[in-house]
Each structure stands twice: as structure tokens, then as C-alpha cells.
């Protein structure tokens, strides 16, 4: 018995397909776009090496900074209601005496199955200035007298984009929370009930503290997902004064609309670093969390 683990090389053959495809379709483009970020290339002629010029342009690019700002605003506007709603629904649907909870779990999960593009178009139509159903309903009810031009206001547009994301993900987070809730041992609840704790006390003293790791998990995944926000807002457009242009939308516009692949690649790398920083921060947080436990 030299080693308890069998290090037979056949294992490598089995993992090889993934690594080969990753090298070809993952790593190679990543390195190629790093090269592109040092060039000026419109796709029609050969790339011209221009050194760090793209990065210099980037640090003076107010449009890019605005897109970072937009992304964060939209992320915050979506993640707070998303997590709170998911948590509230998870706690309610985890109650023993609720009827038809399987049905509701499935229904709340539905938006996550729909593609973000579809959701974007849907919200765009619902909030249309002249023909959207939201304005029609509000006017019928007499709440407003003239239709509201939702997409003409930077903040309303951002809120709508955030709503699309919220609506898409709250069901998924709810399921994760329910899984977390079910992992909490029943004895704790029983003990609390015997001691005469109120429902509210049980939630704040038992449920939430024990759910903290799951909360952290959803929070972290939502950061990375939120920073890459693209397809939903693309359907809704740039918004007034580019107020709903996210980082990835800006990347898409530079590279594929203005045919500036070199600068687009530089933007991609800047986004990569922003996400990297946030991932590192979140990893740090989750480690702290583990130590606490």
C-alpha cells in the first residue's frame, strides 16, 4: 500500500475531453483577445499593433465609467428586492401548513426558465409609452392622466431593467433558500416552540442565522451575474443619456457595432479585472464565514 488514492493515468483520459475543448474554445480566445487589446483592428484589414493606446483611451473614457456606474446601480436595485422577496417566499413556502406549496414553488421558478432576451422584450412592451399595458391600467384606474414615458427617465429605466433581473432570479434564489431552510434541523424549532418563542423570534434567532451561508452564496453568485448583465438591458436599449448601458453592453457596442475589436478587447479585459476584484473580495468574505462557523 504505497498510496491510498489510485493515481492511475486513465483518470486523465476521462478529464481530457473537457480540457481539450477548454483549451481550444476557452483559453485560446482569451489569450487572443489579450493580443487584440494591444491592436487597432476593424475586422476588415490586418490588426495594427498600437501598444497600450487602447488602455490609455479606456482610463479617459467617461462613457465606460458611466457604464460601470450603471451596472452597479442596476445590480443594487435588483439584488436587494430579489433576495428579500426570495427569502420571504422561501420562509412562507417552507411552513408546514401552507397548501399547494409545490405548485407555487414551480410557478415562482418559471421566469427563470424564460430567456433574458424574452423577458427584456416583454418588459419593453409592457412599459411602452403609448401602447404599454402598465400605462393603460394606470390610466384606467385614474392614477395618472397622461401616459408616463418610462424609458425617458434615467432612474425609471434603470429600475425597469433591475426589475427584469429581479423577476428572472427571485425564483431560483427562493429554491436555494428553501433547500437551506430544509437543512435546518427540526429539533431547534421544536425546542424554541416549547420554550414559547414567537414566530418572529424563531425567524430572527434561528432561521436567519443558520441560513447565513446560503445567503452569502446567493449574494456572491449575484455579484458575478450582475456584473455581466447584458441581454435583458440590450433589449430595452441604452436609456436616456446611456443610463442603462451596462459594461458588457458597452463592450458589445464598441466591438460589434462600431467594429473596433481592439478597443472592445481592452474593455473586455477591464471588465475581467473588475469582476476578478469582486470575486476575490467575495471569496475572502466566504472564508471569514467558514472560520466563524
Amino acid at each position: 500500500m504505497r498510496n491510498a488514492i489510485n493515481k492511475s493515468r486513465y483518470g486523465y483520459y476521462f478529464v481530457a475531453p473537457f480540457f481539450i475543448t477548454f483549451l481550444i474554445f476557452g483559453l485560446a480566445p482569451i489569450i487572443y483577445s489579450l493580443y487584440l487589446s494591444f491592436t487597432n483592428w476593424d475586422g476588415f484589414t490586418d490588426p495594427v499593433n498600437i501598444g497600450f493606446a487602447n488602455y490609455e483611451r479606456l482610463i479617459h473614457d467617461s462613457f465606460f465609467f458611466k457604464s460601470i456606474f450603471n451596472t452597479f446601480i442596476i445590480w443594487i436595485l435588483s439584488v436587494i428586492p430579489q433576495v428579500s422577496l426570495a427569502l420571504a417566499l422561501a420562509i412562507i413556502l417552507n411552513e408546514r401548513f401552507i397548501r399547494g406549496k409545490h405548485f407555487f414553488r414551480a410557478v415562482f421558478y418559471f421566469p427563470h426558465i424564460v430567456t433574458p432576451v424574452t423577458l427584456g422584450v416583454l418588459f419593453f412592451l409592457i412599459f411602452d409609452w403609448q401602447t404599454g399595458s402598465v400605462n393603460k391600467v394606470l390610466m384606467e384606474l385614474g392614477i395618472i392622466h397622461a401616459p408616463v414615458n418610462w424609458f425617458n427617465s434615467p432612474w425609471l429605466s434603470r429600475i425597469i431593467v433591475a426589475m427584469v433581473t429581479m423577476w428572472q432570479y427571485f425564483g431560483l434564489n427562493m429554491l436555494i433558500f428553501i433547500a437551506g431552510l430544509q437543512a435546518i434541523p427540526n429539533e431547534l424549532y421544536e425546542a424554541a416552540e416549547i420554550d414559547g418563542a414567537s414566530r418572529w423570534k424563531i425567524i430572527t434567532k434561528i432561521t436567519l442565522p443558520l441560513l447565513k451561508p446560503v445567503l452569502m452564496f446567493t449574494f456572491i453568485t449575484s455579484i458575478i451575474g450582475g456584473l455581466q448583465l447584458f441581454d435583458g438591458p440590450l433589449m430595452i436599449g441604452n436609456g436616456p443619456d446611456n443610463s442603462t448601458t451596462t459594461m458588457v453592453m458597452y463592450l458589445y457596442q464598441t466591438a460589434f457595432k462600431n467594429f473596433n475589436y481592439g478597443y472592445g478587447a481592452a474593455v473586455a479585459y477591464a471588465i475581467f479585472f473588475i469582476i476578478l476584484i469582486f470575486s476575490l473580495i467575495s471569496i475572502k468574505f466566504s472564508k471569514l464565514n467558514k472560520v466563524e462557523q
Partner: protein, 425 residues
């Protein structure tokens, strides 16, 4: 034994993965080996489904030729085409280009010079603006279209009678032959209908109608803002603020409904957009009329270029010849209603061509007048993108009732950011 099984399994997996990515290459090979006859195999890439009918007609005429049409609908076509051209792998012999991005492609080395292949003769009788768009900056012909895409004011006849007092296209055309007249008439319609009916769909119609009459956006590497844009902006503001328009964006859902329900009296739209009319069971036959817009309007257009390194250039050229011919364009007009590119086809059918939606109106007449009115301008790399920036910034300004100078300075900032190589003062 087990080891062998594992080996075989992993090899199968790997082969599966690798072969999954490598198939589907080398489709068009060994077709043309110096044949002078019209035979061989041609591959066409397009975003437009009707090219299949075109290929069928071509095959009917030249039974020995085979045309494979690959349709990639949607926005991704351009990126897919460019990737193929860059890599030089699996490139079609003929590729379609949309008006929106034709500028970059005709000015690249990917498109063969059709002037050297007898193209000039084909476009001799073409509508001027149609043939000019297929030329590169040097003036060489790089792409050819088989149609023109004029637009006009579409209206429901009964609706026009109600609001404008007539359904005669000539009279209506005269009532709206300037923006001032449109604004006055629009105010009246809005007032008489209590704001329920509007003369036109959107202030954006002004861009659609005027954009290609303006000077190009870029001259000698410098941003050039035609002073007429300022006037257009003022007109648009007046249209917007006086409810002349229904504030329905071009090709939005509400815009499409308005064509059918008549809440907009005059819809400026291209000839090819007939599919927007709900004509279930032919209920809309004879319901519509077309009047002239203040100036000539065209929208979109599909052009065909030959790949410079195609091994089937002769056959591809034969195909281009076919679509530029009177024979095809007349057939196309009669079967699909797509307007011809050849002026001769227009002239020959002016008094005879009718289309079911428009009853007995000779719709080629207004279209022909409009199409001739459009100046011949070359497409460059910037035009369409800068126009869309202008639409974005000016549209915002109109909604905020902003001053034109503020709009222009914002616009300059956007242009400078998108195209830093341009000189912007």
C-alpha cells in the same frame, strides 16, 4: 480488461468531442473546373429568406447549375460573415449585405471588383441611388442589388377620406409635400379627433425621409453636420409638441397596429413592409393607397457581393447578371412586390402594375418619382452608425424639449467616443 475498456471509452469520448467541432467544412469544392457553360455549384449566404426563390429561378434557367442558399436570420449574420471572411475558411461564393453595414464590406478586399467583371453594363439603367450604394470609395462596383426600396405614405383610403377629405393619392401627396404643410394638417387632425387620431406615426419619420438627402456625416476624416439637420430638428420638435405624431416608434408594436386600425392617417413606410398589414382572407385588398412623401424615401436594401477568392467567380458572376436582369426583376416585382432596381422595369410597368393591397392604384408611379429624387451617395464605414447616434441623441433632445445646440454638443461627444479617429470640432 477493465483498463482496456476505460481506454476505449475515453478515446471514443475524445473523438466525439473533436469531431463535433470539425465537421461541416469544405462544402463548396471542385465545382468549377474551367467550364465555360453555366454549371457548377454555388454557395450563397444571406439573411433574407426570399433568396431561395431567386436561386430556384436561376436553377430553372440554368438546369446544370446548383445553388445552395444558407439563410442566417437576425443580427448575427454580419458577425458570422465577417468571421468566415477573416478566417478564409468555409466562405460562400456570394454573400448578401444589408444597407446598414454595406459600407465596410464594399470598401474591404473581401468583395470582388464587379466593374472588372462587366458589372457596369448591368447597372447602366439602374436607379442612381441603388447602384451608387454598391460602389466603394474609389467608385468601383463591389456589390449589386436586385431591387430598390422606396417608401411612401401608406394610408387606409376610408380613413383618409374621413380626415383629409380625399383618398386620391395625388391630392394627398400635394397636401403633404412639405413639413410645414404636414404640421398644419397634423394639428387639424389631432384637434378634430380630440387627440385620438394623428397624421403621422412619429417625429422619427423626419429622419427616415430626410436622412439620405443630407451631406455625408464624414468628409475627409472630419465629422460633418449638415446644417439642414438643425432645421430638421426644429421640425421634429414642432411635430412632437403639437401632437402631429402618434409618438409610435418606427416598427414598434403600436406602430404596426396603427397601420391596421387607422389611428395614424399616413404611415411612412417602405414598399417591402407589406407584411405589416393584416390581410387575413384578403380582407385588406384594395383598402390602402400610397401618397408621396415630401422628399424621396428609401429604407434598407439587400446587396450581393462576390467573394474575392471564390473559385467559382464565373458562375457567381452569372448569378449576379441574372439578378440584375430585367427578366428576374420583373418576375420578382410580380410575385413578391419587391420594387425593381432597373429604371426600365419601372417605366415598362408604370401604367400596368397593380398590387392587391392597393386596388387599382398604379403604385409604381409615386415610387418611381420618389426613387429618382434620392441622391446617389456612396456608403462609408461611418454613415449608418453616426446616423443612429444622431437619432439617439436628437430623439432624447426632442422628448426633453432641449435646445438644438445642446443636442449637437452631446452628439459630438458621442461621435468622438465611438470613433476617436475622426476629427470633431
Amino acid at each position: 480488461m477493465k483498463k482496456w475498456l476505460a481506454m476505449i471509452l475515453s478515446v471514443i469520448l475524445m473523438v466525439g468531442v473533436i469531431s463535433g467541432c470539425s465537421s461541416n467544412e469544405s462544402t463548396s469544392s471542385n465545382a468549377n473546373k474551367g467550364n465555360k457553360e453555366v454549371e457548377g455549384k454555388l454557395v450563397i449566404w444571406t439573411f433574407f429568406g426570399q433568396v431561395k426563390d431567386m436561386a430556384k429561378e436561376f436553377e430553372k434557367k440554368y438546369p446544370k447549375a446548383k445553388v445552395e442558399v444558407k439563410v442566417f436570420p437576425g443580427d448575427q449574420y454580419k458577425t458570422k460573415l465577417l468571421t468566415a471572411l477573416q478566417s478564409g475558411q468555409n466562405v460562400p461564393d456570394i454573400f448578401d449585405l444589408e444597407r446598414g453595414y454595406i459600407g465596410q464590406f464594399v470598401n474591404s478586399n473581401f468583395a470582388a471588383n464587379l466593374s472588372d467583371m462587366g458589372g457596369e453594363k448591368l447597372v447602366k439603367d439602374y436607379v442612381p441611388y441603388v447602384q451608387e450604394l454598391g460602389r466603394d470609395q474609389k467608385g468601383d462596383l463591389k456589390a449589386i442589388s436586385d431591387h430598390s426600396s422606396p417608401g411612401g405614405f401608406w394610408y387606409i383610403k376610408s380613413n383618409a377620406k374621413k380626415w383629409l377629405g380625399t383618398d386620391d393619392p395625388e391630392k394627398i401627396g400635394e397636401m403633404v409635400n412639405s413639413w410645414d404643410k404636414i404640421i398644419d394638417l397634423g394639428k387639424k387632425v389631432s384637434k378634430e379627433s380630440n387627440g385620438k387620431t394623428h397624421l403621422i406615426s412619429s417625429y422619427g419619420d423626419v429622419y427616415n425621409i430626410e436622412a439620405y438627402h443630407m451631406d455625408p456625416w464624414v468628409k475627409d476624416g472630419k465629422l460633418n453636420i449638415d446644417p439642414r439637420w438643425k432645421k430638421a430638428y426644429k421640425t421634429q420638435k414642432e411635430i412632437f409638441n403639437n401632437n402631429v405624431d402618434a409618438k409610435l416608434d418606427f416598427f414598434s408594436a403600436g406602430w404596426g397596429n396603427a397601420i391596421n386600425d387607422g389611428s395614424v392617417v399616413l404611415t411612412a413606410m417602405p414598399a417591402w413592409a407589406g407584411f405589416m398589414v393584416d390581410n387575413k382572407g384578403n380582407k385588406s385588398n384594395g383598402k390602402y393607397g400610397i401618397a408621396k412623401t415630401p422628399t424621396g424615401l428609401y429604407m434598407g436594401g439587400t446587396y450581393r457581393a462576390i467573394y474575392e477568392k471564390s473559385p467559382n467567380k464565373d458562375l457567381a458572376n452569372q448569378f449576379i447578371k441574372f439578378i440584375a436582369s430585367k427578366e428576374w426583376q420583373e418576375h420578382n416585382l410580380k410575385t413578391t412586390g419587391n420594387m425593381p432596381a432597373l429604371e426600365t422595369v419601372y417605366k415598362d410597368n408604370l401604367d400596368s402594375y397593380t398590387s392587391p393591397l392597393f386596388g387599382n392604384q398604379n403604385i409604381l408611379k409615386p415610387y418611381y418619382d420618389l426613387v429618382k429624387d434620392i441622391p446617389a451617395q456612396k456608403a462609408d464605414k461611418y454613415g449608418e452608425e453616426i446616423l443612429s447616434l444622431w437619432r439617439k441623441v436628437a430623439g432624447q433632445g426632442i422628448k426633453d424639449n432641449a435646445n438644438v445646440d445642446k443636442v449637437i454638443s452631446k452628439f459630438k461627444k458621442e461621435v468622438k467616443n465611438a470613433f476617436p479617429e475622426l476629427q470633431v470640432d
